[in-house]
Every structure is written in structure tokens, then in C-alpha cells.
């Protein structure tokens, strides 16, 4: 427990500093509306990043998640529009759409996972390839434009993003559940333990009766499912998908994982850290929008500086331990 707190402290400290900064820059920062906005927006990347934590912990990588999200969104919209005449606007249609999203996500993750574990190709290459494939497919299906959900369906589906329970938006609730499940899975289940073991030394894991390929395959499948889940919450937001949906989400998700203290080489995963990392990233955006610091051209530079600083804070703490 002690070393957990020590090393999570870094990103957490950065997060707290950002919150203080935000509040100081703009009094509306603390408003329920703004907090809801920031958290709900984090939810997509957040869920994906939780899945990515397992992939990276077990020594893998997935560059395709952003385009996979676009692809899933496209397929989901297409499927819902196609089923509309038969099912009519209503819960069955929405459930069917969700099923399609999860199914496509599962298949996409399975595809990545099989290429990596069966054909034994580097995860970087496989997912770089599928990244191009998914994105092209969406653009192609959308004919270069935007796939839009039927207007009536959309109105019905909207509350899945904008509605909530006890005043808490659905994306936030779902993200929280996924984060808790992820943390439990990483710390307290065999699966998480196996991921860490494989990432530390896959040979040792194999000699210890761990089904290395199967666990790795599962990490990609779970990630695919989580991308599907993220898409389910994403589609009601704008009701559309295009070639630019989910652009660079992969980089953001990976960055969140690494900022959170998971090792890029695998062997050590921290789901809480990832959640903190995601929040840091979306807070930076929020604060840059709320404050009139400098030219908006420099937003990227400030983002870069804060990311590096957040990690410096963390490393400052843990490098004392010598790692």
C-alpha cells in the first residue's frame, strides 16, 4: 500500500495543482456544469485508457483505438438507421445499436489480438495497420462525409449522453464503474496479476502455467469492448461519425496510461493512475479554454509542458526509491 501511495502521489499532485489553477483562473471552474462537462468528456478516452492499461501492462500496445472508435460509431449508426424501419424508434433499436457496437468492438479487438498472438507480429505494426484500415473504412462508408443517425432516433438516444442518474451524467457513471472494475481487475484478480507477470517477463509467466497468448488476446478483446462501450456513449452526443471521429484518441489514451505511472515496457500497471492521467489531460484542455492565457496557437505547447511537468513531479518522488 505504501509504495502505491508514493508513486500515485505524483500525478495526483499534478491533478490537484491543475484543479487549483483552474479555480483560480475562473470562478466558474467549480460550477457543477463545468465539472460535469470535464468528467463526461473524459469518459470516452477514460474507458479506452483503462483497457489500454491492461494492454500496455502485459507488454502490448494498441494504436488503432481512435480509428476503431470511428469505425464502430460508423457501423453502429449504419446499423441503427437500417434497423429503424423494422424496429421503430425505441428501446429495442437503441439496444440493438449497442449490441452492434459491442459486437464490432469485440471483433475488432479480436482481430488485433489474433494477429498479435497467433501470427506473432509486433503490436505496434499490427495496430498501425488496423489504424489505417479502420479509418479508411469509415471514410469510405461515409463517402468522405459524415454518417448521421436518423434524427428521431437521435432524440430518443440523446439522454444516454446527456441524461443521468441523481444528477450525475451517464458517461461519468459508466466511466466510474469501469475504472473501479479495472482497478479491481488489475489489483485483485488473476487476470491483472497475469498481465503484470507477462509484461515483466513472458517466459517466466509461461513457465508458471500462465496461458500467455490467451491473456494477451483477452487484453485486446477487452480493449475492443471498451472502445465499443465508449462509442455507445459517444454516438448520442453528436449523433454522427466521420473520418475525423476519434482522431488521435490513441495517443491521448496511451499518454494517459503513461502519465498515470504504468510502464510503457509493461510489467507494472496502475489503473488509478490512468484515471488521474485522463483527468489531467482533459483538465488541461478545459483550463486552456477557460483562461485567456496566451495565443491559442500556443495551447499545444502549454499542454506539452504540463504533461512533462506532471511526470517530473511523479518521477521526482519515485526516483528517490531508486526503482
Amino acid at each position: 500500500m505504501r509504495n502505491l501511495s508514493l508513486s500515485t502521489l505524483g500525478p495526483l499532485a499534478a491533478l490537484i495543482l491543475l484543479v487549483i489553477l483552474g479555480a483560480w483562473l475562473n470562478e466558474n471552474f467549480y460550477s457543477a456544469g463545468n465539472i460535469t462537462n470535464v468528467l463526461a468528456r473524459s469518459a470516452f478516452i477514460g474507458m479506452i485508457a483503462v483497457g489500454m492499461t491492461f494492454v500496455i501492462t502485459s507488454g502490448g500496445l494498441d494504436l488503432s483505438v481512435g480509428s476503431m472508435a470511428a469505425f464502430i460509431a460508423g457501423m453502429m449508426i449504419l446499423a441503427m438507421n437500417a434497423m429503424l424501419p423494422r424496429l421503430g424508434v425505441g428501446i429495442p433499436l437503441v439496444l440493438a445499436g449497442m449490441g452492434v457496437a459491442l459486437g464490432v468492438g469485440l471483433l475488432a479487438g479480436l482481430g488485433n489480438g489474433l494477429l498479435i498472438t497467433r501470427a506473432r507480429i509486433e503490436p505496434f505494426i499490427v495496430t498501425l495497420g488496423t489504424m489505417g484500415i479502420f479509418r479508411s473504412l469509415v471514410t469510405w462508408i461515409a463517402d468522405g462525409g459524415t454518417l448521421s443517425l436518423d434524427f428521431g432516433t437521435r432524440e430518443f438516444y440523446r439522454p444516454v449522453y446527456y441524461g443521468g442518474l441523481f444528477g450525475i451524467a451517464w458517461p461519468i457513471i459508466v466511466f466510474a464503474i469501469i475504472a473501479v472494475l479495472g482497478e479491481v481487475a488489475m489489483r485483485h484478480t488473476r487476470f491483472g496479476r497475469y498481465c503484470e507477470a507477462i509484461g515483466s517477463n513472458d517466459k517466466v509467466a509461461r513457465y508458471s502455467a500462465v496461458k500467455v497468448e490467451r491473456v494477451q488476446l483477452w487484453t485486446y478483446v477487452i480493449l475492443g469492448l471498451l472502445v465499443g462501450l465508449a462509442t455507445i456513449l459517444y454516438v448520442p452526443r453528436l449523433g454522427s461519425a466521420s473520418g475525423s471521429t476519434g482522431l488521435l484518441w490513441e495517443l491521448e489514451a496511451i499518454a494517459a496510461v503513461i502519465i498515470g505511472g504504468t510502464a510503457l515496457k509493461g510489467g507494472y500497471g496502475r489503473v488509478w493512475g490512468t484515471v488521474v492521467g485522463v483527468l489531467i489531460l482533459s483538465l488541461i484542455d478545459n483550463i486552456l479554454n477557460l483562461a485567456d492565457l496566451v495565443s491559442p496557437y500556443l495551447n499545444g505547447a502549454i499542454q506539452g509542458v504540463i504533461i512533462v511537468l506532471a511526470v517530473v513531479l511523479q518521477r521526482g518522488k519515485s526516483s528517490a526509491e531508486g526503482r
Binding site: N26, G33, D143, G145, S148, D292, P296
Partner: protein, 294 residues
């Protein structure tokens, strides 16, 4: 047997709504012209960044034996040299939308009017907002043409007493526009109007406003002429009183005129500026293309 001609078409890839529409129109025109004129062949290439577009043009020249080139430069400066090389090789050159850095290279220039695009929007704001009104702007991807539009807009509202609260980049992207607008709404208790500068961004902006429940408070002007937006103008949506055109179909005009150069004797040299006009509920039907993806 008449001689066949090959025309290269080089455009940016469909990374946002407007370009998506432009890609669609390009493909439609090519299909139509190839059917109409069997002796015309087209080569279409799309690029995600200026360097790739230069590659494409080089490849067309070296391997596809093009007789003419229709190009929508990703950026003016980097494409100037390579397009000039095409011209120097004795080929026909049509430049679309973004002019080259050096004048007089192209045979035909077909463009929208970025200055007018900003100005027309600005004039509408000036005419419909009282002095002291507060507006926010969403900018596109940081490029010269975005600068031109914003400058023209600011110049047009100059002296009206309208206050621009903020102008951040939404990068012509729905999601980013949504995020930026959400934060604007948190930051500013009073906003009277939004210049979203692009219809894709306008959609994201409207969602953010709807979420905050502030639909009654402000109206939005987008830009380009996306079918959903035009439809809402036709339906007299109070949130979307008008739109400013910047039709992606201008690529069709350019391709067709270039084709005419090869299949007929029609003189097509010159500059064709397709002005930006205001779409109002009255004239909206003329700008509505339900089959276009944009």
C-alpha cells in the same frame, strides 16, 4: 479515333466535413465526365499533408502522363513550385480555391472568396446585433485561409460595438467545437451569438448549447452550406437564421471547365470567383442537395 486526355485531380483528403463534401463532388464530376466523354481519363489523388500532395503531383507527371491538372493546394507556398513544374512541362493547370504564392502560373483559377466568407457573416452580425452584444468565435485549423476569414469578419463588425469574447480553435471538427463551446458556456454567462465559421462546427456548437439549455439566448452562424444546416434554415430554425456559402461544389466547376478545355473549343482561361452569399430561409432551397454527404 480521337486523342484521349488524362486530367489529374489533386485535393486534400476528407479530414473534415467541407473537404468530405469536396471529395464527394470531385468524384461525382469525374464519374459524370468520364461517362460523357469517353476520351477523357481522370486521375484522382488525395493527400493528408502538403508534402504528400507534392508527391502526388510528381507521380502524376512522371507516371500518369497527365495533360492537365486540377489542384486544390493544401497550402499555397509549398505547392507553388511543384505546380509550376507541371505548368513548365507544358500542361494545363487549374488551381482551385487556394491561390498559389506566385501569380500567373495557372491557366484557370476557380475559387471561393474567403474574405467575402468572413465579411458576409460579419455584416450579418453587425446588422442584427445591438452595440454591446457579446459573441464568441470558433476558428478552424490554423491556416492562412482561416486567418483571412477571421480578419475579414473582424473588419466587418468593426465599429459596431459588438464585443468578441473569445476565439479558440475548433479545427473544423464537431467534437472539438462541442468541447470549446461547452467551455465558452461555462466561462461566459451571457453570449448573444456565435460565429462557428463552419457548419460542422455549428453542429457541435448547437449540441453544447442544447445541453446547457441556453438555446433561446443565442443564435449561430456556421458556414459552407451543409445540407442539414440548409434544411434547418429552410425550416426557419430561430437558432440558425442564415448561413454563408462556401460551396464544396466549386471543385465540380473547376473540373468541368478543365474538361471543356480538352473536349471543346470553349475558352476557359481566367479567374472565376464563386462569391459567398447568404443563405436565407427564402433562398435556401437553391442550396439544398439532399444526396451530397455534406
Amino acid at each position: 479515333q480521337e486523342t484521349t486526355y488524362t486530367i489529374g485531380v489533386s485535393i486534400p483528403s476528407a479530414t473534415h466535413g467541407f473537404m468530405g463534401g469536396l471529395n464527394w463532388h470531385a468524384q461525382q464530376s469525374i464519374a459524370r465526365l468520364e461517362k460523357a466523354y469517353p476520351n477523357l481519363k481522370f486521375v484522382l489523388a488525395t493527400a493528408g499533408e502538403p508534402g504528400k500532395q507534392v508527391d502526388d503531383i510528381e507521380d502524376m507527371l512522371a507516371t500518369r502522363n497527365i495533360d492537365g491538372l486540377v489542384v486544390l493546394p493544401f497550402e499555397s507556398e509549398p505547392l507553388t513550385g511543384p505546380v509550376k513544374a507541371v505548368k513548365d512541362a507544358g500542361k494545363w493547370v487549374t488551381v482551385v480555391d487556394r491561390g498559389l504564392a506566385v501569380e500567373g502560373i495557372e491557366d484557370l483559377y476557380v475559387a471561393g472568396d474567403n474574405t467575402a466568407f468572413g465579411r458576409v457573416a460579419g455584416e450579418y452580425f453587425k446588422a442584427n446585433l445591438a452595440s454591446g452584444s457579446k459573441i464568441v468565435i470558433l476558428r478552424g485549423i490554423a491556416t492562412t485561409l482561416d486567418n483571412e476569414r477571421v480578419e475579414a469578419f473582424e473588419k466587418a463588425i468593426d465599429g459596431s460595438g459588438i464585443e468578441i469574447l473569445d476565439k479558440q480553435h475548433g479545427n473544423w471538427n464537431r467534437d472539438e467545437a462541442f468541447t470549446v463551446m461547452q467551455d465558452y458556456l461555462s466561462k461566459y454567462p451571457k453570449i448573444d451569438a456565435v460565429w462557428a465559421a463552419d457548419d460542422d462546427m455549428a453542429i457541435g456548437v448547437m449540441e453544447a448549447i442544447a445541453q446547457a439549455g441556453r438555446e433561446k439566448e443565442m443564435w449561430i452562424i456556421g458556414g459552407a452550406g451543409m445540407k442539414e444546416i440548409v434544411k434547418r434554415i429552410m425550416d426557419k430554425d430561430p437558432q440558425l437564421p442564415v448561413d454563408v456559402t462556401y460551396p464544396p461544389a466549386l471543385i465540380s466547376a473547376a473540373i468541368e471547365m478543365t474538361a471543356l478545355r480538352f473536349v471543346s473549343d470553349t475558352p476557359v482561361y481566367g479567374r472565376f470567383i464563386i462569391g459567398s452569399t447568404l443563405i436565407t430561409p427564402e433562398n435556401a432551397a437553391r442550396f439544398y442537395f439532399p444526396d451530397s454527404p455534406f
